[in-house]
């Protein structure tokens, strides 16, 4: 049976959405880092927090790199347009990840030149800036960016701020703060799950309440803003892109999978908050994680499926990117689809490896017996 080009584009958009969902879930590392100065009461508690997060930071990092690589391979025009145009936003995100990568390994090593506090500050910056800016960048999928494409698909960015202008759009900020507080909530739940220390656990539970409320406010406000506002509809025949009221709402209602993912994901996240706040359950992270992934997939489905420009231009709608316009060739998408079949195998060995080194929770005794600590 011949696989259609449309199917391949939508398949790859789903893979991108899945990677985005996993990335947001794994940003519990960043969320946890954002508490590095506020949550621990002493050096041992800080060491526990850093070591709990430090054993996972590479997965988030790798997922981000794979997310970029998959976007490059499947939708290269997006890669060229967004990265080449919104230069400063992406550079800020990358800088925050560069300083994160060394911070864990170097923070407690003798002769690290700058001292532990500097490397902890690196972790804090990455913890706050990474999720916030990624949230803002993804929000532009719904609110649009100021660019035009010429005859050869060369991008011309309208604003001299090259992407930073997205920070003055309130809707973008809602998702930016929504992702930041979600990462913080996930981070707290992960720390609760990984560390066995009474005082720290009590602090985590208090912080969970303080962060769950702003997360829900920002996230629900963003959802309301995009569902009740105008969306970028791409005419399937002419390719003309126009702003249409309630477009994303229609997309959501018209796509039962997206609707189920969004509602199911939100319910799981609410259950996780109930478990974490009222029951003090260590398992809250799993509900939150398995809720986050479908919610992000649903957002990407709303942005990309159903006659929609997933990367709209607010100044020249004709330059907006649809899945059809931005995608790789049929041959490449098909070849890459075969490669993507190894993803379940990758997930399986990650699961097995995680399980093998996460059998016991982190305590001061456990850390004392470790050869490799941060």
């Amino acid at each position: 049976m011949q696989i259609s080009y449309l199917f391949l584009r939508e398949y790859w958009w789903l893979i991108i959405s899945l990677l985005a969902g996993l990335l947001v879930f794994l940003m519990f590392v960043q969320g946890g880092q954002s508490f590095i100065f506020s949550l621990p009461r002493n050096d041992m508690q800080r060491k526990m927090v850093v070591n709990a997060l430090g054993r996972k930071w590479e997965f988030t990092f790798t997922t981000l790199v794979t997310f970029g690589g998959a976007f490059f391979a499947s939708f290269p025009l997006f890669y060229a347009t967004s990265f080449g145009g919104a230069y400063w936003v992406w550079m800020a995100i990358l800088f925050s990840f560069i300083i994160q990568a060394v911070a864990y390994e170097y923070r407690s090593k003798p002769a690290n030149v700058y001292g532990t506090r500097v490397f902890d500050t690196f972790l804090f910056i990455n913890g706050c800036l990474g999720p916030f800016l990624l949230g803002v960048a993804v929000a532009t999928f719904f609110t649009g960016s100021d660019f035009t494409l010429d005859l050869f698909n060369r991008v011309h960015w309208g604003s001299g701020w090259h992407g930073l202008e997205a920070l003055i759009n309130p809707v973008n900020l809602l998702l930016g703060f929504g992702v930041l507080f979600l990462a913080r909530v996930l981070g707290l739940m992960y720390l609760e799950n990984s560390i066995d220390e009474k005082e720290l656990t009590a602090s985590i539970r208090k912080a969970l309440v303080r962060n769950a409320v702003p997360f829900l406010v920002f996230f629900l406000a963003f959802i309301a803003a995009i569902l009740l506002g105008k969306g970028y509809r791409a005419d399937p025949v002419s390719g003309e892109v126009t702003l249409v009221k309630y477009h994303y709402l229609h997309n959501l209602i018209g796509n039962y999978v997206a609707l189920a993912f969004l509602l199911g994901g939100v319910v799981l996240i609410l259950i996780s908050l109930w478990l974490g706040i009222f029951r003090g359950s260590r398992r809250a992270i799993w509900y939150a994680g398995f809720g986050t992934v479908p919610v992000v997939i649903a957002l990407f489905m709303m942005a990309g499926y159903g006659e929609t420009a997933f990367y709209p231009s607010s100044t020249d709608p004709g330059s907006s990117l649809t899945l059809a316009k931005a995608s790789s060739s049929y041959f490449t998408l098909k070849t890459m689809m075969y490669v993507s079949f190894v993803i379940p195998f990758v997930v399986a060995y990650i699961w097995y490896a995680w399980g093998s080194i996460n059998r016991s929770r982190i305590t001061s005794e456990e850390l004392a017996g470790e050869d490799h600590t941060y």
Partner: protein, 518 residues
């Protein structure tokens, strides 16, 4: 429009990419090689049960971790810089170039990052065999990652497995197999990873030599020298062999780079390979490019002809042949290629304009051209030449490639000698007595880094002005951003990476001085 290029933007973008690539490559080869050395050492621990091997493995693993972190940090920027700084390139070839990068992420990065966690944190948590398997998987993952990125890099030097699509104005992949088994990719991968093995072996031998000089950790040092010496010697010989085959392929697919590496201006039969030489300005010019004489030359007769053609009397084209053309040898002049490329580009522009105007008849006739064999092979293949104003612009910097190549090759042979001596002295149990050798081994560490970086300088400087050989010059590939923005990020990267490098070296030196945990 596409014709308006800001050269200062191009140069700053090149500088930024070069800076990040050079910094990244300071750390990658050690990861590639040391990961295997760790795997060998841990295998010996598991097989013999000797706790000394465990101690040795853990010591080198600490240094591996320090290096690995900064390698990861500097690596993320390279992938995204294709988009941020070379967006026109990203679109033009993303269909082909993006695929190996995505495969790298899915197949290699996760393997590496998953099992590196087990390698560091699993000593007391998983079985010996599972831990050993994890260490091997880290080594395989790291080298698998190198494979995919080098496939992508090789494609830029020898673009294969693709067809141009006038509708999208880009190249599209039509054979993944050709992309993966590109002869340049095979040579490049083998040459690059084995050179990484050599660097890591020099690193281990050099630091072990320091322990012997200081009369500390002698057992660790001797055992490490033996492992690294053998691994380094085998790898060094492989580097020499793969370097030879790389040069043969290069002569076919990038003859200008090959001629620049040899500073060969006049084509000739019975051409000798210059071993040593000094370049001097001859006073002659090709356009605005200097022509150099090779003084103090020591050459191996006929070897260049043999390497290039397989025959001692084979003809090797020089830069003058390649720029001005040589009809007798069937070599087109660059000005002719520029003309043909301009014709091909005009056909594309006409096609795009017809599409804008909805002129389907013109579109159909022009689209048919892109399927004609004559047009594709005799015109479109020179598309990239249409962007040049002068034929001499295709000549890279001859002094940089000439000297970088010779120093790299010279150091490569020096390392083979170093490993041979290390194994010999170890066998004779006279390592400590030959302090001169220990000092040379120690001071060889920076030389290994120099050789490794020079390898990339030969590759990347030698292929200028192309970002994709014959299809896209560097100045066409750049993003449409201000030079000031790139200057700012260049200096931010320069300061940040230098600061991190200082921390890395300081931590590494302290860990070495501290020695293994007892």
């Amino acid at each position: 429009m596409i014709e308006n290029f800001d050269l200062s933007l191009v140069n700053w973008s090149r500088a930024q990419f070069a800076l990040t690539a050079i910094y990244h490559w300071l750390f990658v080869p050690l990861t590639l090689g040391l990961s295997f050395i760790l795997a060998f050492m841990e295998t010996l621990y598991v097989r013999t049960g000797d706790e000394m091997w465990k101690k040795i493995t853990k010591f080198w693993m600490t240094l591996f971790g320090i290096n690995f972190a900064i390698g990861v940090a500097t690596g993320i920027i390279l992938e995204f810089e294709f988009g941020t700084n070379w967006s026109n390139y990203s679109w033009f070839v993303g269909d082909i170039f993006g695929a190996p990068l995505a495969v790298e992420g899915i197949l290699a990065f996760f393997l590496e990052s998953t099992f590196v966690a087990v390698m560091f944190f699993g000593w007391n948590k998983v079985s010996k065999r599972f831990h050993l398997a994890s260490t091997w998987l880290v080594a395989i993952g790291a080298n698998l990652s190198a494979l995919w990125i080098l496939i992508a890099n090789a494609w830029m030097e020898n673009p294969v497995g693709m067809v141009f699509n006038p509708d999208t104005a880009r190249n599209e992949m039509n054979s993944f197999r050709e992309v993966v088994f590109n002869p340049v990719a095979v040579d490049k991968f083998l040459h690059t990873v084995t050179s990484g093995f050599v660097l890591a072996s020099v690193f281990v031998v050099g630091i072990s030599a320091w322990f012997l000089i200081r009369k500390r950790e002698e057992v660790l040092a001797r055992k490490s020298i033996l492992i690294a010496g053998i691994f380094g010697l085998v790898s060094g010989l492989a580097v020499a062999l793969t370097g030879d085959s790389s040069a043969r392929t290069l002569a076919q697919v990038q003859p200008v780079k090959f001629a620049a590496m040899e500073a060969l201006y006049e084509g000739k039969a019975n051409a000798g390979l210059t071993v040593i030489g000094a370049l001097a300005d001859s006073g002659e010019r090709i356009g605005e490019k200097k022509v150099h004489d090779v003084k103090l030359k020591i050459a191996i007769p006929k070897l260049l002809s043999v390497m290039t053609t397989g025959k001692g009397d084979g003809y090797v084209p020089g830069l003058k042949d390649l720029v001005n053309g040589n009809p007798e040898r069937g070599i087109l002049s660059v000005s002719e290629m520029m003309e043909r490329g301009r014709y091909a580009r005009q056909v594309l522009i006409d096609y795009k304009m017809a599409r804008e105007l909805g002129d389907t008849e013109t579109m159909a006739s022009l689209a048919a051209k892109f399927e004609e064999k004559d047009f594709v092979e005799n015109y479109f293949r020179y598309f990239g030449y249409s962007y040049f104003e002068h034929p001499w612009q295709v000549i890279p910097s001859v002094p940089v490639t000439f000297y970088a190549f010779r120093v790299m090759v010279g150091l490569g042979f020096f390392f083979i000698l170093l490993f041979t001596l290390a194994i010999w002295f170890h066998r004779k149990k006279t390592l400590e007595k030959n302090r001169w050798f220990l000092w040379i081994a120690l001071f060889s560490i920076p030389l290994a880094y120099l050789a490794s970086e020079l390898g990339w300088i030969v590759t990347e400087m030698g292929r200028q002005p192309w970002i994709i050989q014959n299809l896209m010059p560097v100045h066409v590939a750049v993003s449409n951003i201000s030079a000031g923005a790139v200057q700012t990020t260049f200096w931010l990267f320069a300061v940040l990476f230098t600061a991190l490098l200082i921390a890395e070296i300081s931590i590494m030196v302290r860990q070495i001085k501290t020695g293994p945990k007892h």
